[in-house]
């Protein structure tokens, strides 16, 4: 703990505390976890960028079907490599104190596979595939499921889920906050 304490200046810790939803102790804890992912590289330069394979060694992400999307969304370079600040950002959004609207926004980004600001049928198909893991739903079932989802959520009938529609339905689903959370 002493090592990680000296890795940051007071100003940096203050900034991080102000700009994220974590307290100083939690930030240091996050740094410790980041450090264990690649001790050599982080020891030399704390602002080093860790590759996506390193990040996915984190136990919380290893079994998550959306880990690649998560890394891409939070990475500042867009290709999945994350610096410590990106990592901290990620943990802040997934923490308990982050408000619902922030989580909903990032959830929308994560589920938008083709990054066109809409969740289309293709995006949904990918999401469902990733959710069911090794077992795959049949074509017909998949199509039925996608249609049902659009029926529930798509208010303007354009077969695309815009952010407003997504937010509208997700905020009605009560388990969202409970499931969209990673505790370190």
């Amino acid at each position: 703990m002493g090592g990680s304490q000296s890795a940051f200046t007071e100003q940096e810790l203050d900034d991080y505390q102000t700009l994220t939803y974590l307290t100083k102790k939690e930030i240091l804890h996050v740094y410790k976890r980041f450090f264990t992912l690649a001790p050599q590289a982080v020891n030399q330069d704390k602002n080093t960028k860790l590759g996506i394979s390193d990040i996915q060694k984190l136990p919380e992400l290893k079994v998550n079907p959306f880990r690649e999307r998560i890394c891409k969304v939070f990475s500042s370079s867009g290709d999945g490599d994350m610096t410590f600040e990106d990592f901290l950002d990620m943990m802040s959004v997934f923490s308990d104190q982050a408000p619902k609207n922030v989580k909903v926004e990032y959830a929308f980004r994560i589920y938008d596979f083709d990054e066109d600001d809409y969740i289309s049928a293709g995006d949904l198909k990918e999401v469902i595939d990733k959710l069911t893991g090794d077992q795959k739903l049949s074509e017909e079932d998949m199509q039925q499921l996608i249609d049902n989802i659009f029926m529930e959520a798509d208010l303007d009938d354009d077969e695309l889920l815009s952010f407003a529609e997504f937010e509208h339905v997700i905020s009605k689903a009560p388990d969202f906050i409970n499931s969209f959370r990673i505790r370190l």
């Binding site: 991080y16 505390q17 102000t18 700009l19 994220t20 307290t23 100083k24 102790k25 136990p59 919380e60 290893k62 079994v63 998550n64 891409k72 969304v73 500042s76 867009g78 290709d79 600040e85 990106d86 901290l88 997934f94 609207n101 922030v102 926004e105 980004r109 990054e115 600001d117 999401v127 959710l131 069911t132 893991g133 077992q135 739903l137 079932d141 039925q144 499921l145 249609d147 049902n148 989802i149 029926m151 529930e152 208010l155 303007d156 009938d157 354009d158 077969e159 952010f163 905020s171 009605k172 689903a173 009560p174 388990d175 969202f176 409970n178 499931s179 969209f180 959370r181 990673i182 505790r183």
Partner: protein
């Protein structure tokens, strides 16, 4: 307003561009048909005409506002970046300058406090590095021209912020059992974790209760006995008072050595304690008011929790509208899972659920009338059977209690008979209920679970009511006995026996089952952790604690110790012996329901204890209230004694407790509730209306887009002058009222006129 396109089966008038699929407009009002698949319309931007359309689409205001639809406050919308792509990705452009400029140039900005700016920055969806840059730029630009008063406000805000942060830090390090909870969540997900969180919450509630009783009731008594060496108030000691030594059996029965200690009501004195100088400490008032105090505290905590939970999960979660598929798909994955095994099971369970539900959706056969009748008769019979069983168990308890006092039974059995009987009934009858529920053939497992919970809770409530009724009516008539102490002992025994049975059941059903499954019978599967049953046991033990603290003040301490032991035992057992469940557990809704049960039991115990205080005569030879007709008499005497000094106070209290005032309060509360309910119904209707309007607007937009494509195509085909009026002739009047629509139509006209020339 009549939308331009109102008919089903709208067929496009012009030849379709390549890439479009055949489509039909589905009338939203008729709802989907379960058979047949809807085909989709695609707006493919492959041709040039379509590219123009796409370009126009991008300039629609609604598309730009898409990423701004947050509820953080309309001010923040000004400061968010207005582009389609988010800045979080690798767009290569550093937006910090733009954003910082936008922030400082806005006139409203100067009035914002640091807090609000920080909240805004926290919620922005850019990278942390750019947020830092923005923050520094903004704060450096802000530093000019602050007066002394604003600087003072700023300092106060800063100090408050620092205070909040340090409190958060302390809470973080104090957080109880964090590593255990994280381990459980990693392996089992949020369902099982909710049980442990509930346990932790009950533990935290009991701490203030314990501290209050300790501080105001137990400690003065202990000091009094210690310093004054006064004989305790149970029985005036005769010459050969027997000194009962402590044997181990007292831990089980609560009698013997424990009877003359602070554990029970009977020990407390009714005298005025005079330890320090002239200050008098009236034990009578202290005992009663402490009891009232912690009940009030628990009421406030419970009421706020249940309201918060209800609002979060039911109202905002709109209990009526059930977005089943959305929640399954988007909330289906539990991000807290860390173990591979749990992840595999989760995948499998999601797959099974989705396939099951889709299969049910496809072929829902209607039950025949005779089948329905049969089901109804079966359910009627099972409900009568359940009521009969509960009634029988209640009578059994009553009979046993009255028998035990009359006939001779060996020592240990006569005190333990009732607790054993009650706990046995609570174990066996729910199994019978399960069997009956299997007969009832509920379609949804959720309904079955709720009905089972209601039945079990009714059973527990009935047994407790019978017992309490027996104590207050029969037992209090026995004048040789200090009945309050006896009641305290009974509750103590109930708590201890319940605790032992919990440990035994955990040991037998989880540990032994794992041993058997692994080594003996391979086909028997390892147990799953039964969240419902365990949580209901917790609620029952908490009810006993509330019921008994008046008669056994140290009971809250015993329950605290019990909760800690149960936490560790269950945690070890769940990790070692159980496997994650395949069935999903809706933690959010269930949490509200469990809180509801807890609250209703709390109200029951409050009523029971209040009846005991007001209506039942305290025993003559022990306790703080000996010699009075009612325990409540001390309060009335206190109020009367104020009549001379504080007349206005007496009058106020008399007025408040008069029936007229209370009736008026009740009526006003009822009217308020009714009014709010009407408002809520109005809002719901508004929501449906607005949703319908939205769908119609969407259809408008589709129609206009199609129109635009046709117009563009026509203008491309004819190389000569087009007739821009083709587009504008459709614009009869202000039929489209949305802001995006109006701008859009103007652009349609402009675009077509441009390409036409």
């Amino acid at each position: 307003m009549d939308p331009p396109c109102d008919n089903d089966g709208y067929a496009p008038a012009s030849p379709r561009t390549e890439g479009d699929e055949e489509y039909e407009m589905v009338d939203r009002n008729n709802g989907p048909t379960s058979s047949g698949l809807r085909r989709r319309k695609t707006w493919s931007a492959q041709n040039e005409t379509d590219r123009e359309t796409a370009r126009l689409l991008e300039s629609l205001p609604s598309r730009q506002l898409e990423s701004l639809a947050t509820t953080l406050g309309k001010d923040t919308i000004h400061f968010k970046h207005r582009r389609m792509k988010s800045f979080h990705g690798g767009s290569g452009v550093d937006p910090s300058n733009e954003i910082a400029d936008a922030m400082t140039n806005d006139p409203q900005f100067a009035e914002k406090t640091e807090d609000e700016i920080e909240e805004m920055l926290k919620g922005m969806t850019t990278t942390l590095s750019s947020k830092r840059v923005i923050m520094h730029k903004v704060s450096s630009r802000r530093k000019r021209g602050v007066g002394r008063f604003t600087r003072f406000k700023y300092n106060v805000a800063m100090n408050w912020q620092h205070f909040k942060y340090s409190v958060a830090e302390v809470m973080y390090s104090l957080e109880l059992w964090k590593s255990h909870l994280k381990l459980i969540e990693g392996h089992f997900g949020t369902g099982v974790t909710s049980y442990f969180l509930f346990l932790k919450w009950l533990f935290l509630i009991n701490i203030p209760v314990f501290l209050l009783t300790l501080g105001f009731v137990v400690l003065p008594q202990v000091l009094y006995r210690w310093l004054k060496q006064d004989p305790p108030g149970y029985i005036e000691p005769s010459e050969n008072s027997t000194y009962v030594s402590f044997t181990g059996i007292e831990l089980l029965t609560g009698q013997g050595w424990f009877e003359n200690t602070e554990l029970y009501y009977g020990f407390y004195t009714n005298r005025t304690i005079n330890l320090i100088g002239n200050h008098n400490y009236e034990m009578k008032y202290a005992y009663l008011f402490t009891c009232g105090g912690y009940y009030l505290l628990c009421l406030i905590i419970l009421a706020t929790s249940i309201l918060q939970s209800y609002r979060k999960y039911y109202i905002e979660g709109s209990g009526d509208i059930n977005f089943y598929y959305i929640s399954k798909v988007f909330n289906g994955w539990d991000y807290g899972i860390t173990s591979v095994e749990a992840a595999r099971l989760k995948h499998k369970s999601l797959f099974l659920e989705l396939s099951e539900y889709l299969a049910g959706f496809k072929g829902k056969k209607e039950k025949t009338l005779s089948a329905k009748c049969q089901l109804f008769m079966i359910r009627l019979c099972t409900n009568i059977a359940v009521l009969g069983l509960i009634g029988a168990s209640g009578y059994l308890i009553y009979y046993l209690s009255s028998i035990i006092r009359r006939i001779e039974i060996p020592y240990l059995i006569d005190v333990l008979a009732i607790p054993l009987c009650i706990t046995g009934v609570h174990l066996i009858l729910p199994i019978l209920f399960h069997l009956l529920e299997r007969l009832e053939c509920y379609v949804k497992p959720k309904t079955e679970l709720y009905i089972h919970m209601i039945r079990t809770m009714t059973l527990k409530g009935v047994t407790l009511i019978v017992l309490v009724n027996f104590w207050f009516t029969e037992l209090s008539k026995d004048s040789t006995l200090c009945w309050e102490t006896y009641v305290g002992e009974e509750i103590y025994r109930l708590v201890i026996v319940d605790f032992i049975f919990t440990l035994l059941v955990t040991f037998l059903f989880e540990f032994m089952r794992r041993i058997v499954a692994n080594y003996c019978i391979k086909s028997l599967s390892v147990a799953e952790f039964n969240i419902g049953r365990n949580t209901m046991d917790l609620i029952y033990s908490q009810t006993l604690c509330w019921l008994g603290t008046f008669y056994c003040p140290l009971l809250s301490c015993i329950v605290l110790i019990k909760l800690v032991i149960i936490f560790y035992v269950k945690r070890v057992s769940v990790i070692q012996n159980c496997q994650p469940s395949m069935r999903p557990w809706r933690a959010a809704r269930s949490h509200t329901i469990f809180l509801g049960f807890l609250f209703s039991f709390f109200l029951l115990t409050t009523v029971a204890v209040a009846c005991g205080i007001i209506f039942v005569e305290p025993s003559d030879n022990c306790g703080p209230y000996k010699g009075q007709n009612q325990t409540y008499q001390v309060v009335t005497e206190l109020i009367d004694s104020w009549k001379d000094d504080y007349t206005w106070l007496t009058y106020t209290i008399e007025f408040i407790s008069s029936p007229g005032f209370i009736a008026a309060v009740v009526i006003i509360l009822g009217m308020g509730t009714y009014y709010l309910r009407l408002v809520m119904i109005g809002h719901k209707q508004m929501v449906t209306l607005l949703e319908q309007q939205l769908t119609l607007e969407g259809k408008d937009k589709n129609f206009l887009l199609k129109l635009l494509q046709d117009v563009n195509k026509k203008n491309k085909d004819k190389k000569k002058t087009s007739r821009p009026l083709t587009a504008t002739s459709y614009l009869s009047d202000d039929t489209v009222t949305s802001p995006g629509g109006r701008t859009f139509i103007r652009q349609v006209a402009e675009a077509s006129s441009r390409t036409g020339l």
